[in-house]
Structures are given as structure tokens and as C-alpha cells.
């Protein structure tokens, strides 16, 4: 008997809670550090981006309407499920892109899991830290609360494949935003595996949508989409980012990009309640105090 033949995974996009091929029917080869073919990823299209935004839009209000405790539990659940699949993630990371040795891949996976745990705990605390009562000069109750901005488009950093993606995604969804993620073009597989984890972790369908494919094709429709409320362009190159930001300006879309310090993915600086705040709007409510 020969060795057992492995069953290879088909890496699909994750839109509205379903794993789907592109409506365009296209795919593109993803190769490992040594140039070996790892898989054929979906080459998403403009229409896939559109569908993802629609899914994100329809999921957002429900997600934001969950209690903060519930969102925190779900983010923690993501960490739990990832933990149980640490080996798979580490292997995925090690095979991807420029590659890294096994211990680096394991470290990245562990850091990504810990990042979920860190943000899970913020779900019912960030409003306390970022908002609060304002002592106005008059007989009014006045309270500011951070609220999710809505649908956030995330252009995920290229590499490494997992930790940067989690570092940008977790602060976006913890407050109740939904996300359309353009996965790393070169190493999209970890993103798809993450999607599988999310699907198993009670994250409602449509809260996170992951589109894979070519950035040049996918960034413009995402940046120009009027129903996208905020953009994280951390993963864009300079020129691509500038074009996207110009597109975003037409609909006054908020544009965020990680600072140099925040790109030290393993550092404390890469996680912050102010990253949650960057994808929130402050709402201030006034009410008179009278008998």
C-alpha cells in the first residue's frame, strides 16, 4: 500500500457566512516560500466586493445590537476555536509567503489568539474608557458613547499572513462593526482558515466577510463603495492607498492606517482601545434635568 493520499482543502471566499467561489469563476495560484503551489485561491471580483458589502451591511445592525457581553464572548470563542486548531494555523503560516520556521509560525499563531482574547475583554469596557459623562454648564445630563461606525473595509497587511490580519480585524468588530476584508494577495490562505474558525465561533453571518484576489482589482470598488463607512488601508501600497483615500473622500469615508508603531505586530503598541475608537463614532446625548 502506498501512503494515504492527502485530501486538499479548497480555499473559498467567505461572504455572508457562506464559503463561495467568485461569481467570476476565477482563481489564482498561491505559492509557498519555495515556489510550490499551495492552492488555488479564489480571484474575487468587483461584484464579490459588492456582495460582501451588502452582507456586511445587513449583518451590522444585528451585531451591534448584541450585548457587549455577548460580543466579548464570541470574540473569546474565536480564540478558543483557534487555540484548538493551533497546529493547523501554524502550519498554514509556516507554508505561506516568505515562510518562516515552525517556531516563528507557532509564535505568530499564539500572538494572534492572544490578540483575540485581549480584544474580547474590551467589548464591555471600551465605552467606559472612551466615553463618559460630560459636566456641561447647565441643567443637562450629557453622555458620550462610542458607537460602531458601521461597515469597515479592511485592506489586510500583506505579511505575515495571520497576526496583522487579526490585529486589524478584532478592534473593528469588537465594537459592533461588520467588516469586508481584502485578504493578503500573496498569502490569503490563513485568512480563509480564519474565516472557517469564525464560522464555527458564533460570529453571525456577514459580520466578517473575506474576499481574496488581486488588490488592484478589489481595492478601488471597496474604497469607492458609498456604503462603506470606514476604511483601514494598512495593507495598501503608497500609491494604491492614495488612490483609495481619494476615492473615500468623495463619500467622506473615514480612512485609517496603522502607524509605524502599530505595525510592530508582536508589540503591545499593536493593540489599543484607541484602535477600537478609530472605528467608532462618538455619540453625545443631552437631556434636561428637571422635576
Amino acid at each position: 500500500m502506498s501512503e494515504r493520499l492527502a485530501v486538499n482543502k479548497t480555499y473559498k471566499q467567505f461572504i455572508g457566512g457562506a464559503f463561495e467561489r467568485s461569481e467570476s469563476g476565477r482563481s489564482y495560484p498561491v505559492v509557498g516560500a519555495g515556489g510550490e503551489l499551495l492552492a488555488h485561491a479564489v480571484q474575487g471580483s468587483r461584484k464579490d466586493v459588492r456582495d460582501a458589502v451588502v452582507a456586511a451591511r445587513s449583518a451590522q445592525e444585528v451585531w451591534a445590537g448584541r450585548t457587549a457581553y455577548n460580543r466579548g464572548q464570541i470574540l473569546y470563542r474565536v480564540a478558543e476555536v483557534m487555540e484548538s486548531r493551533r497546529g493547523e494555523f501554524a502550519a498554514e503560516v509556516a507554508r505561506a509567503g516568505d515562510g518562516c520556521d515552525g517556531s516563528m509560525a507557532a509564535a505568530e499563531t499564539a500572538a494572534a489568539i492572544d490578540r483575540w482574547v485581549w480584544y474580547a475583554g474590551w467589548a464591555d469596557k471600551f465605552a467606559t474608557v472612551l466615553g463618559g459623562a460630560n459636566p456641561v454648564a447647565g441643567p443637562y445630563f450629557n453622555l458620550s458613547v462610542p458607537e460602531p461606525v458601521g461597515v469597515v473595509g479592511i485592506v489586510a497587511p500583506g505579511e505575515p499572513p495571520l497576526l496583522p490580519l487579526v490585529s486589524r480585524l478584532a478592534p473593528v468588530i469588537v465594537s459592533g462593526n461588520s467588516a469586508v476584508v481584502l485578504a493578503s494577495e500573496r498569502c490569503p490562505l490563513a485568512a480563509v482558515t480564519l474565516a472557517e474558525t469564525l464560522a464555527l465561533s458564533d460570529v453571525p453571518a456577514g459580520v466578517v466577510n473575506i474576499v481574496t484576489g488581486h488588490r488592484d482589482e478589489l481595492v478601488p470598488p471597496l474604497a469607492g463603495h458609498a456604503a462603506v463607512d470606514s476604511l483601514d488601508l494598512t495593507g495598501c501600497g503608497a500609491e494604491q492607498g492614495a488612490d483609495a483615500a481619494r476615492q473615500a473622500a468623495a463619500t467622506i469615508t473615514r480612512v485609517v492606517s496603522a502607524s509605524t508603531a502599530e505595525r510592530q505586530w508582536f508589540d503591545e503598541a499593536a493593540q489599543s482601545p484607541y484602535l477600537i475608537d478609530a472605528f467608532c463614532e462618538t455619540k453625545t446625548v443631552w437631556h434636561p434635568k428637571g422635576r
Partner: protein, 485 residues
């Protein structure tokens, strides 16, 4: 019974004296701590919109002037302001606040002369709030370490600030106070129709010994603003004005590394439930839309009233509108002053005409408008549908559109049916409904059982196409700091 007597309330023409205001014939630019002649050599008149009379000529800064102002700001920043202990920055700001309080009457009268707003508003709201903003942010200057958990707040650098004509001094204060408190230096550009209080503020800054170049004030129009926004020496752009200009600025600033905050237009819904305190509602509606002649980005321009009380509310509103006094802004009894400019008056007139043409029913009280100047009576439109231009476009004038609803869900849908998201009003005596509604308003400021309240401690700013960033409160520091781990 004794016979009834004939008596009608006749309020005095109670014009505020213009004596405290001393106008120069011409104004230069405030750059590097002194008033300088513009390199452009160009001047433009600023007029009193209530009379059409020219008040003074102000400079029109060109690219060379902008360059000079940004260089002065840069030099002041690097030359000491960024390294000045917060406690010292605070003292400068406290000084400015006090000087504004001391010269409040002069500022109020000048604001009304240059912009046309009622003296009651400039005296009771604009100027005191401007002083309060400096006072409030002065206190933050040496407490930034307590503002952001786990992060240190470092200044950004040179801020370019472009402000509108509807609250000239107040917007200058909203922009300057947090920027300076956080250790930035500023080039401020007031609006071309209302530059005079900003130029008077230059005097205050000098009297407060604010170091030269920390605040530079340059006057001019769109071209001046564009040059300022595009200047490579600028680290941060803050703009308050129209959404159209906001889009252009966003595109200009995109990917330059400049930070950007925008405070843009609005089309706020003011939602009235049948259980509300209808007499205070009436005042709230009036204050919401006729305050500053409706030339307010957060104006409650769309009245959404529950069908069961629609007639009662509209009846009370019409009756109240009949008592509004339109006229001389310097008169202490005036409720609605002058529209800021001919261009704005034309825009209002165009949209009012569109409302009539689209089939809405217009009500305006019989009031005599002054013969000179730019005036518009308060207007109320009923029979308005959500598709009408007057229900969708920002009018920036004393024009209210009334729509009705039956359920809270419908009210939410109609209120949020706009690309804007600056403010909203909710009127109900039922606490749980109020909070349910407040949660669902896509708006940065929600006034519940009140409207158009402002305070330096309270963040202000919009969702969606009403802009991004907040002014006021701790949130108002964020646009002017770099958070460092």
C-alpha cells in the same frame, strides 16, 4: 367689571451700541505675531449683511502669504511651543479666555455687525461659549497624561484650520483652543464674509503674549483655503464648512500623511412623539430651526411629528412663528437677524421656491422685512414628502419641513434617511422610548427634549457625510494629538 384696556406689547427698538467697536479701514494678515501687509497686495471688502454697508477691507492671502504663515507656525512650533510645559500653555489659554470675557461686548457687537446674527445670540451664546472653550481646553493642556489610557499624547505640529461664517469667533475658539492646548501651532483662516472677529482675536492673542507665530490668522477666499490645505508644511487640516468643500479637501489631503477632521453639513431630524411636552417642543422646534436664522449645520430642519399631534404641533408652531421678530440684528429683541450674504439668501430663496414648486404648503408669518440688507422670513412647509428637495438638501436658512410618522420604527427610518448624520432631536416623556430612539439615531449629537445646546465639555461632530472627528470634550483633543505608546 372694569373695561378692558387697549394695550399691545410694543418692544423697544433696543439697538446695541456700536460704540465699543473700533474698525480699521484696512486689515493685514496676522503672521508671526504681527499684522503684516499681504504679499498679494490684494484686499476685499467685508460688509454688514443687515445694511449692505462696507465695514472694512481685509487682505486676500495668496500662496506666498500662506507659505509665510505656515513657516511662522512651523518656526514657533519647533522654536518652543511644542516643548513648552503644559502648565505654561494652559496659562496662555486662560489669559485668552479672560481677555475675551473682558471684551465680550465688543466682540458680540462686531460679530453681529459682520455676520448679521442677532445680538442676543452673539452676546449670550457665541462670545461666552468662545471664552468657555478656551477656559475648558486651558485646563487640559497640563493634564493630557490623564486623557488617554496607556498612551502619551504628543502634538501633531502645524494645524491648518478653516472656519465658516455662521459662528465666526466660536468656530475659531473650537479650533484654536484644543490645538494650542495639545501643543500645536496654527494657521487659521476665517470665512471671507466674517473675518473681523478673528482679526480682533489677533489683538487678544497679542495682549495675552501668546508667542509670535503660535497662531497666525490669514484672510481670503477659497483659493487661500486651498493653498493652505495643500501646503506641504501643514501636518493637520481641520475644516468646518460645506460637505462639497469637505470632499475636495479630503481628496487633496488623501495619502499626504496630513491628519484631517471635517465638520460638514447636516439635515437633522427633530422627532416629536405624541406624549411630548408640546409647549416646550414648540420652543425646541423654533430654537432648532430659527436659531441663527437656520444657518446652522446641526439645525433641526426636518420636523418629524407623530400624526396624532401633527395638527396641534403645527398650530402651536404657526402661532409661535407669528411672534418671531425679524430685523435689525443689533436690536436686543430681534429673534432672526440677517442672512449672511446675498449668495446664501439666493440659495434659501431657490430652495423655498423649489418647495412650493414640488407641492409643499408654505407658511410664513406676516412680517415686515427691512428694506436694506439680506433678510428672509421664517418659513414652515407642510405636506412635505421625503423625496422633496426641501426634505433632503441642506438649506442653511430659516426653513422648516414638516413630515409625519405613525410609529417609532418609521420615525427612525425617516430620520436616518439622509447621507448626513450630525444631529437629531427626540421629544418624548417616555424614558425607555427616548433611549431606544437615541440608540438608533445615526447622528453625533442627540438632543432629547431640548435642541441646539452646546458646551465645551460636550463633543460635537457628525456621522457619515457630516464629517469626522469631534470638537469639544476629551474627544476634541484626539484630532490634535499623536498617541504614543
Amino acid at each position: 367689571m372694569p373695561p378692558a384696556v387697549d394695550f399691545s406689547l410694543d418692544y423697544a427698538p433696543a439697538p446695541e451700541s456700536t460704540a465699543p467697536v473700533r474698525l480699521a479701514a484696512q486689515y493685514g494678515l496676522f503672521v508671526g505675531g504681527e499684522m503684516v501687509e499681504p504679499a498679494s497686495g490684494r484686499l476685499a471688502a467685508t460688509t454688514n449683511p443687515a445694511t449692505g454697508e462696507k465695514l472694512a477691507e481685509v487682505s486676500v492671502a495668496d500662496a506666498a502669504d500662506v507659505d509665510r504663515a505656515v513657516a511662522a507656525a512651523r518656526s514657533a512650533w519647533e522654536g518652543g511651543w511644542r516643548d513648552l510645559p503644559g502648565a505654561e500653555r494652559a496659562k496662555y489659554l486662560y489669559r485668552v479666555a479672560r481677555l475675551l470675557q473682558e471684551r465680550a461686548r465688543e466682540f458680540a457687537v462686531l460679530e453681529t455687525m459682520d455676520g448679521g446674527k442677532p445680538i442676543r445670540e452673539s452676546r449670550d451664546l457665541d462670545i461666552p461659549l468662545a471664552a468657555a472653550h478656551f477656559f475648558y481646553y486651558a485646563g487640559w493642556a497640563d493634564k493630557l497624561d490623564y486623557a488617554f489610557s496607556g498612551r502619551r499624547a504628543a502634538p501633531v505640529g502645524v494645524a491648518a484650520q478653516i472656519i465658516p461664517w455662521n459662528f465666526p469667533l466660536l468656530m475659531a475658539a473650537w479650533k484654536l483652543a484644543p490645538a494650542l492646548a495639545c501643543g500645536n501651532t496654527v494657521v487659521l483662516k476665517p470665512a471671507p464674509t466674517t473675518p473681523l472677529t478673528a482679526l480682533l482675536l489677533a489683538e487678544v492673542l497679542r495682549d495675552a503674549d501668546v508667542p509670535a507665530g503660535v497662531v497666525n490668522i490669514i484672510t481670503g477666499g477659497d483659493a487661500t483655503g486651498a493653498a493652505l490645505v495643500a501646503h506641504p508644511g501643514v501636518d493637520k487640516v481641520a475644516f468646518t464648512g460645506s460637505t462639497e468643500v469637505g470632499r475636495a479637501i479630503g481628496a487633496e489631503v488623501a495619502a499626504t500623511g496630513k491628519r484631517l477632521t471635517l465638520e460638514l453639513g447636516g439635515k437633522a431630524a427633530n422627532i416629536v412623539f405624541e406624549d411630548a411636552a408640546l409647549d416646550q417642543v414648540t420652543e425646541g422646534i423654533v430654537n432648532g430651526i430659527y436659531f441663527n436664522g437656520g444657518q446652522v449645520c446641526c439645525a433641526g430642519a426636518r420636523l418629524l411629528v407623530q400624526e396624532s399631534v401633527a395638527d396641534a404641533v403645527v398650530g402651536k408652531l404657526r402661532r409661535r412663528m407669528d411672534t418671531l421678530r425679524v430685523g435689525d440684528p443689533l436690536d436686543k429683541n430681534t429673534d432672526i437677524g440677517a442672512i449672511n450674504s446675498q449668495a446664501q439668501l439666493d440659495r434659501i430663496a431657490e430652495l423655498v421656491a423649489a418647495g412650493v414648486a414640488e407641492g409643499a404648503e408654505l407658511y410664513a408669518p406676516q412680517c415686515e422685512l427691512p428694506e436694506r440688507g439680506f433678510f428672509h422670513p421664517p418659513v414652515l412647509f407642510t405636506n412635505v414628502s421625503t423625496a422633496h428637495r426641501i426634505a433632503r438638501e441642506e438649506i442653511f436658512g430659516p426653513v422648516l419641513s414638516v413630515l409625519t410618522f405613525r410609529t417609532a420604527t418609521e420615525a427612525v427610518a425617516k430620520a436616518n434617511n439622509t447621507p448626513y448624520g450630525l444631529s437629531a432631536g427626540i421629544w418624548t416623556e417616555k424614558g425607555s422610548r427616548l433611549l431606544w430612539m437615541a440608540d438608533r439615531m445615526q447622528a453625533g449629537v442627540v438632543w432629547a427634549n431640548t435642541f441646539n445646546r452646546f458646551d465645551p465639555a460636550s463633543p460635537f461632530g457628525g456621522y457619515r457625510e457630516s464629517g469626522h472627528g469631534r470638537e469639544g470634550g476629551r474627544a476634541g483633543l484626539l484630532p490634535y494629538v499623536e498617541l504614543v505608546a
